[in-house]
Amino acid sequence: MDFLAHWGLTLSVFLPIVGAALIAFTPKEQEKTIKFLSLAFTFLPLVVGVLLLRVYHIGMTGMQLETNRSWIPSIGARYHVGIDGISLPLLELTLLVTFLCAIYSLKWLPEPHNPKGFLALMLLLETGMAGTFIALDLVLFFIFWELVLVPMYFMIGLWGGPRREYAAIKFFLYTLFGSVFMLLGFLALYFRASPHTFDVLQLQRIGPSLPSGIQNLIFLGMGIGFAIKVPMWPFHTWLPDAHTEAPTVGSVLLAAILLKMGTYGFLRISIPIMPHAARTYAPLIGALAVIAIVYAALNCLAQTDLKRLIAFSSVGHMGFVMLGIATLTQIGVNAAVFGMVAHGVITGMLFFIAGSIHERYHTREIPQLGGMALRLPILGGLLAFTAIASLGLPGLAGFWGEVLALLSSYNPLSALSSHTFRVYMVAGGIGTVLTAGYLLWMIQRVNLGKVPAQWEGKKLVDVQPLEMVAWAPLLLLTLGLGLFPRLIFDVTTHSVIGLTKLLGG
């Protein structure tokens, strides 16, 4: 247990990269070994992740399971990792979803067939994603953050759809553009802090006393990096392309986890370290968030590609998350973290389903589908269930994040204008209606109606056991988190209170 408390996090983050290295040294003909390795090295971190829950004290504020070691002394960067109630759910989500992707990949691998490359990259990606959620040193955070880029670039560019090359380079350039500004922000913060430090926890003590002009400037620099990753309107244009062109597993990981890195960056770094700037920019962030909600919903109404529709819906859902964050209140931030997890579970699931539909119909054009509930009742049912969860039906996971984000904007942090945020609330409310509209319309067009003539007599296989195994945890979580939101809120609340205290809430 002692070992786990000190090195458990490190283990869960670096096991996948070990697996990637092992796969790299396995001859590519031995596909079974490669798949086994990918399964094992996503399962082991998950086991470690579950064991971590036993040593983690849920009722405590502040960081736990910390490791803090010397790393680059000459520039003052340390290997400092730890988790609290905000990062724990995201870490567990990462470990779970990647494992499910490994299960799914046992049978369904995108073309061109190359399990060695694909699975090694997936494991590399897992290290980057999980590491981002535990890093407590800005340089370390940056490394993990960037580690995600290359594997995702290859995943989209090699195994993606027809416009894969364009989507891949767009994703890469956009994110790099954001992250270099983020890095400049980190460095500026380092030199402004006295004593100079990259340590997030120390900066949370030092940062708030920085002059407000400096805070605003640094917040803006970092904000560009985080906002592109979220993505916030108007920085979202890389997302529909990347999500649509990426192979199924790539889309799932992008939607379920990568996007959360941006919102997590706001919660872990920008807001607690620069609370003054956070209050300054909150109305702007809120405005961009509601624009994203409405804009994404309108866009979704116009989409004919199922995957592109889900991709745009992500922009909207992340809008709710950002709206919750922008209120800077306990309820709002709680809603944001819940929304992040719920979106990860639900949209991850939707992308799995979209992938499976494409696998069967070889098209994702909604007008060409239709009547799926007749031909593939189980797949149709799952699509309906998940889509309804996505639109925020009470009792399912999507509900809490959205409704609490709207609720909290009725009464934002006292330093913020409640009038402004009430306007946001109304606009966001209209967004939820539109969201319900496009999702129900999508269900109607895909599931109901007549089966188009081209599918008559064609053999279409319904959900297979392996798919069910890969999806069951997500479906159960969708229901479970909807019925027992305390599963998340109990973990997050203490840390969120700690965060909002820094903001004077």
């Binding site: 380079i169 270099v180 460095l187």
Partner: protein, 482 residues
């Protein structure tokens, strides 16, 4: 005058090796000329040993204060020797295949290396100038070694003419400095410049002349025109040597002069250097976008990289202090890391060039035909682009850090934008290699053993320093002169 022979031991060893190479070349029959390579390799290895024996010693000064062996000198000399070793290993098969005069090649390479070693120890304008010429003159011939190739001739001629011109300008600048201060010793120049404010305008003029001269060596804008043609026309290992060792030698001279002799005038030259650095990186990166030949791409990329290395000079403080120390260390750290990623990329270009891969188009589908080669090329290119956790990222971090420490936020932003532009052309090559189907080219690329070794060494260094950047950062901080 007493000579401290221990201090000059590496140079003596190398000079000895030079003579042996020359003699061996005379006695060997034509079909056995390849043997000169191992002899040269041993010579450089011996030099390296002599250097390692000096590492960690207290500073030695000899030849009337002109020649100093301190940690700065030792670190950079080791870097030069390693770069030479990698170049030698890269050249062996290349020269045999291309039928290039091997005896002359190795001799000239070692001559150039000797100049590099002495420039790192020179704390006086005269030896700096002589060393710089010793670096360049053999390099002219190296560039033109493929006598029957028109491009090689063009390479040598362009290199020669540009170099002569810039050297003349630099020498004029140096003579002005001597005229004002009456000394050629760098530290003494700084003292006397501070004491004679009357002649400041002439001093500034001479600083500009000197910078112009070095601007050519380090391929800074607008003195970079020779670079792409020379690199393309030269034998590829020579291009690698020029882009790493020769460029580093230029930086070594420039850093010494600017930080020791001219830092008192930093207020005047800082904006000028800032502009040159930004223009250099922007020009290099923008033009690289349009390149189709792999060596030309690397040439323009190396111009871009020179801009990054130059940037810390734009924060030099007149009064010295920690900002100068950090800026100096950042440039040194970048040079240390740059050497390996650049050598690695050139090694791959040599390896694939053997199979006829000269153009970026030829790299299409390399990921399927020679996955190993394509993966290491990706490592080097992404390292040059500054993607963590590869070493090039750490190098850029040090530069950003120094520039922000000097409160030059806009320069950091300009460099950040450049980093993004640069990624585009590095990723372009990677895209060709992996995202395009294998063409009709043969499966597998045979890489000679020595070339494999250079690639392996470069890869290991790029990965190792990427994960533990302190290896470079610590060394660089130990090896500054301010």
């Amino acid at each position: 005058m007493q000579i401290d022979y221990a201090a000059v031991a590496p140079e003596l060893v190398l000079t000895g090796a030079l003579c042996i190479v020359l003699v061996v070349d005379l006695v060997l029959p034509d079909n056995r000329k390849g043997l000169i390579m191992p002899v040269s390799l041993l010579g450089v290895a011996g030099t390296l040993l002599a250097l390692l024996a000096l590492a960690g010693d207290p500073t030695r000064t000899t030849l009337g204060g002109m020649f100093v062996v301190d940690s700065f000198a030792v670190t950079l000399k080791i870097l030069f020797c390693v770069a030479a070793l990698l170049t030698l290993a890269m050249s062996y098969d290349y020269l045999r295949k291309e039928g290039i005069h091997q005896g002359e090649f190795y001799f000239l390479l070692l001559c150039s290396l000797l100049g590099m070693l002495t420039i790192a120890s020179s704390r006086d304008l005269l030896p700096i100038f002589v060393s710089l010429e010793l670096v360049s003159v053999p390099a002219f011939v190296l560039a033109g070694l493929q006598k029957i190739d028109v491009k090689s001739n063009e390479a040598a001629l362009k290199f020669f003419l540009f170099s002569i011109l810039s050297t003349a300008v630099m020498l004029f600048g140096m003579s002005l400095i001597y005229g004002i201060t009456g000394t050629t010793n760098l530290a003494e120049i700084a003292v006397r410049l501070a004491a004679t404010p009357v002649l400041r305008s002439i001093a500034v003029l001479s600083v500009f002349f000197v910078v112009v001269g070095f601007g050519f060596k380090i391929s800074a804008f607008p003195f970079q025109w020779w670079v792409p043609d020379t690199y393309e026309g030269s034998p590829v290992p020579v291009a690698a040597f020029l882009s790493v060792a020769s460029k580093t030698a230029g930086f070594v001279g420039l850093l010494q002069i600017m930080f020791i002799a001219f830092h008192g005038l930093a207020d005047v030259w800082r904006p000028f250097i800032a502009a040159v650095a930004i223009l250099t990186m922007t020009f290099g990166n923008l033009v690289a976008l349009t390149q189709r030949h792999i060596v030309r791409l690397l040439a323009y990329s190396s111009i871009g990289q020179a801009g990054y290395i130059l940037l810390p000079l734009a924060v030099v403080n007149v009064n010295g202090g920690s900002v100068n120390h950090e800026a100096f260390a950042a440039s040194i750290a970048y040079l240390l890391i740059y050497a390996f990623m650049e050598m690695g990329a050139f090694s791959v270009a040599v390896a694939y060039g053997r199979e006829g891969g000269y153009f970026i188009d030829d790299y299409a589908g390399l990921g399927y035909r020679a996955p190993g080669l394509a993966v290491v090329m990706t490592v080097f290119l992404f390292s040059l682009a500054g993607i963590p956790p590869l070493a090039g990222w750490a190098a850029k971090l040090f530069i950003f850090r120094a520039v922000i420490d000097g409160h030059e936020y806009w320069l950091a932003v300009a460099m950040a934008v450049n980093t993004v532009i640069a990624l585009f052309y590095y990723a372009k090559v990677v895209r060709r290699m992996f995202f395009e189907p294998a063409g009709d080219g043969p499966l597998g690329v045979k890489v000679p053993l020595l070339l494999q070794a250079t690639i392996a060494v470069s890869t290991v260094m790029v990965l190792l320093v990427g994960i533990l950047p302190d290896l470079a950062a610590h060394l660089a901080r130990m090896s500054t002169l301010v």
